[in-house]
């Protein structure tokens, strides 16, 4: 791999590319948000991936799943295979672990990750994923998008990017996860189901998340602090820190730093 390729991102620091090389990145969910994340990480130069998605490409994915083609849809190609193709096209020597399963079915590989992206649907899924990240001391970056449709008004498109750092506030502390919303999800007796999603909004969220990851690994700004909770307002086209940060507790009471490692069950 020539140094020239990464010359335009050399401002990230002298050892930035080494740090990027060394990091093992987990990405759970390779649809609208996760496909953007994979593509960007591959461009930047990441070499070690642990990827999860149980699904195959469907027609409705083609509006927003980066890298997916009509041919993928016709042959019902697994999303993990599409992600692998994207990575290999840029990083032919990358180490890629693929799991065409729900992460809960094969959870152990997550534990080896240095950094975890959650690009999943549903509060319960992201709650359980954050719990694993906290238990094994893995920084967790979560992205989510919702479009709320009401009868009288235009739809409201909103999303968030959260950095949940062990030792700092979690998504429960920040109000991203709360029992009321999880209860509503639970009452539906089904998965989160098809949710409105659009490629440009997913791209904004994924790019923001990748930017956080790069700063975390390279410290190029020298000014990254956890927690990070950015709210995206799609109608206005803005991304800004959530006002909830101001009112959140100072210490996470949901994940004491002693509650780590394999539980003794």
């Amino acid at each position: 791999m020539s140094n020239e390729r990464y010359s335009r991102q050399s401002f990230l620091g002298l050892d930035a590319q080494d740090r990027i090389d060394q990091a093992v990145i987990g990405i759970v969910g390779l649809g609208g948000g996760g496909s953007h994340v994979v593509q960007q990480l591959a461009h930047i130069g990441f070499q070690q991936y642990v990827l999860y998605d149980p699904d195959c490409v469907e027609d409705s994915n083609l509006t927003r799943m980066v890298g997916a083609t009509e041919e993928d849809m016709k042959v019902a190609r697994p999303k993990v295979a599409v992600a692998q193709r994207i990575i290999r096209g840029l990083q032919p020597n990358a180490q890629i672990e693929l799991y065409q399963k729900h992460w809960q079915e094969v959870p152990l590989p997550l534990r080896r990750c240095d950094l975890l992206f959650g690009c999943v649907d549903g509060g319960r899924n992201r709650r359980d994923l954050e719990a694993v990240a906290r238990r094994y001391l893995i920084p967790y970056i979560d992205i989510g998008l919702d479009v709320h449709q009401t009868e009288a008004e235009p739809p409201i498109m909103a999303g968030q990017v959260v950095l949940s750092m062990p030792g700092s506030l979690c998504m429960h502390c920040l109000g991203v996860l709360h029992e009321k919303a999880l209860a509503e999800e639970g009452q539906r007796y089904e998965d989160a189901g098809p949710r409105p999603q659009v490629v440009w909004a997913n791209g904004i969220l994924a790019s923001t998340a990748v930017g956080i990851a790069i700063d975390l690994l390279t410290n190029w700004t020298g000014d990254l602090h956890a927690p990070i909770y950015l709210e995206y307002f799609g109608n206005q086209g803005t991304v800004q820190p959530s006002p909830r940060l101001e009112f959140a507790a100072k210490i996470c009471r949901h994940y004491p730093i002693t509650e780590v490692g394999d539980p003794e069950l």
Binding site: R134, G186, Y189, H254, L265
Partner: protein, 112 residues
């Protein structure tokens, strides 16, 4: 002893080996090898009691496997808790009971 310790002690007396655990700010009670009523397959399995509101249920009993019981239930509660996969069926409004009685009430729901 306080009332919470009393409740846990009672649980441990009824289910030897029971442990109190916590994750994500929620207290769970792990019950190893819970023996299930006749007609259930398997006959025993690990269980995890969540006595507080979770996912819209006032309490929940998770099992290590989807139990086949005499009554068919809607197993809608797949969860990954304490580094294990757990399964729960939909059975609402079991609340206001002691820990032991919560377990019994959920297990009884496997029967007609």
């Amino acid at each position: 002893m306080d009332v919470l310790t009393d409740a846990f002690s009672e649980l441990q007396r009824q289910f030897p080996g029971a442990k109190q655990c916590q994750e994500g700010g929620t207290i769970f009670y792990f019950i190893p090898s819970l023996r299930l009523p006749a007609g259930c397959v398997p006959e025993q399995t690990d269980a995890l009691l969540c006595p507080t509101a979770r996912d819209g249920y006032p309490s929940r009993l998770f099992f290590a496997v989807r139990v086949e019981g005499p009554e068919v239930r809607n197993w809608n509660g797949n969860s990954y808790i304490l580094s294990r996969q757990w399964y729960a069926f939909s059975w609402a409004d079991i609340q206001g009971l002691s820990l032991v009685d919560l377990v019994f009430a959920h297990v009884r729901a496997l029967l007609p």
